[in-house]
């Protein structure tokens, strides 16, 4: 899966300045309070304003993610309100922290178990590219080798405002995304990608 999202839409250069209140694709009709829009726009508008994250705190970035969720910075203002523990009910996976070799297959499994449409934010340097553990023997060098990532948030740990900026960019990306075609999850298993022994069913 290349960096651009599934429909092949290149992420357009994001307009700086105040995000428009009304997505520009809506047509204003002369009738009062009547707006015409395609289903796709309405769906994306709804999806982008309520991406529920998965409680997926790994390391120090998890504490900053919690701080972003708390009243001072309040991610909830942007719809990223409820931290869903189960991937079945989460739309957004914020990978916050270092992904070790042992955690890689689990991360891929959690991502596969999430319901489509789903998005991934790689929070912090360790998730983006292995960060300061660039020469560690037990760290995955960047989450995008395991799961397709939509937004990268740099920083170690990124300030809550940086994560909020990441959420805003994800919003604009979702708003512009086309219709979400079903995702086929074949392809090599994570263990094969990471060259580890095929993980058995765990000890009983």
């Amino acid at each position: 899966m290349d960096i651009a999202d599934e429909q092949g839409h290149e992420t357009p250069v994001l307009r700086q300045g105040r995000p428009s209140q009304l997505p520009s694709v809506l047509e204003k009709l002369p009738l009062p309070n009547v707006v015409l829009a395609t289903t796709e726009t309405v769906l994306n508008w709804a999806r982008s304003r309520s991406t529920w994250p998965l409680t997926y705190g790994l390391a120090c970035c998890a504490i900053e993610m919690m701080a972003t969720g708390m009243p001072q910075h309040d991610m909830g203002r942007f719809g990223v309100e409820l931290f869903r523990p189960s991937p079945r009910q989460a739309d957004l996976m914020i990978v916050s922290g270092t992904v070790s070799l042992k955690m890689g297959p689990r991360l891929r499994r959690l991502w596969e178990q999430m319901a489509v449409p789903k998005w991934v934010i790689a929070m912090g340097d360790c998730a983006t590219s292995g960060g300061e553990f660039w020469d560690s023997y037990h760290t995955v060098q960047g989450v995008d080798t395991i799961v397709p990532v939509d937004v990268y948030v740099p920083g170690c740990p990124p300030r809550p405002e940086a994560l909020l900026d990441g959420v805003m960019r994800l919003r604009e990306k979702i708003q512009k995304a086309g219709f979400y075609r079903p995702v086929e999850l074949d392809g090599p298993s994570v263990e094969a990608i990471m060259g580890l022994a095929e993980e058995g069913g765990g000890e009983s």
């Binding site: 070790s100 070799l101 042992k102 590219s129 660039w134 020469d135 560690s136 023997y137 037990h138 060098q141 960047g142 580890l196 022994a197 993980e199 058995g200």
Partner: protein, 182 residues
């Protein structure tokens, strides 16, 4: 380059530590390979691998010593030999001791003290996981931290970290983790 900082002055060890040293020297006698003080407040002992368990039980049960708190078990690869270092606290007498045991560099085997101090269980499993030190008598000596299929013992000196470069943002891994032995 001569270090600019004042060379370490040998602080004099306090009296209770010296008394404890006498008791240990009295009990162990010839089996005590070396005894010294580290910065004046840690009693450093070294014993042979064979009488590690005897020394450990003595240090814990001797009424004057009572080193009942095992703080840390560390494995160190000194290339010529493997070193297992135990740090002990005595809560009642406020003393700290360090017990060193040497083991063979290729196949290190040491007796497990988890029977004496249960806290040693995970410390020893981690030393086994990282350095390959076998602990006889350990309840379940298996991998603790590394991933299931990991090859090699990372903390050994001959284990090189992977050398990675990022030309044009794509990672190139030149020398992978190198461990001649396994």
């Amino acid at each position: 380059m001569r270090p600019l900082i004042s060379v370490a002055r040998r602080p004099t060890p306090d009296s209770r530590l010296v008394a404890a040293a006498e008791i240990v020297r009295g009990h162990l006698g010839p089996r005590l390979l070396s005894i010294s003080y580290q910065a004046g407040d840690i009693l450093c002992l070294e014993v042979d691998r064979s009488d590690l368990l005897a020394t450990a039980t003595f240090l814990r049960d001797a009424p004057e010593l009572r080193f009942d708190f095992l703080s840390c078990v560390s494995g160190v690869d000194m290339v010529s030999h493997m070193l297992v270092v135990y740090h002990l606290h005595s809560l009642s007498n406020r003393l700290t001791a360090q017990l060193k045991v040497k083991a063979d560099a290729r196949e290190p085997v040491v007796d497990s003290v988890s029977a004496i101090w249960p806290t040693a269980n995970w410390h020893e499993r981690e030393a086994f996981d990282m350095l390959g030190i076998q602990f006889n008598g350990h309840p379940n000596l298996e991998r603790l931290l590394l991933v299931e299929g990991f090859v090699g013992y990372p903390l050994r000196r001959n284990y090189q970290l992977p050398r990675r470069r990022w030309p044009h943002g794509r990672m190139v891994e030149e020398g992978g983790p190198v461990d001649e032995r396994s």
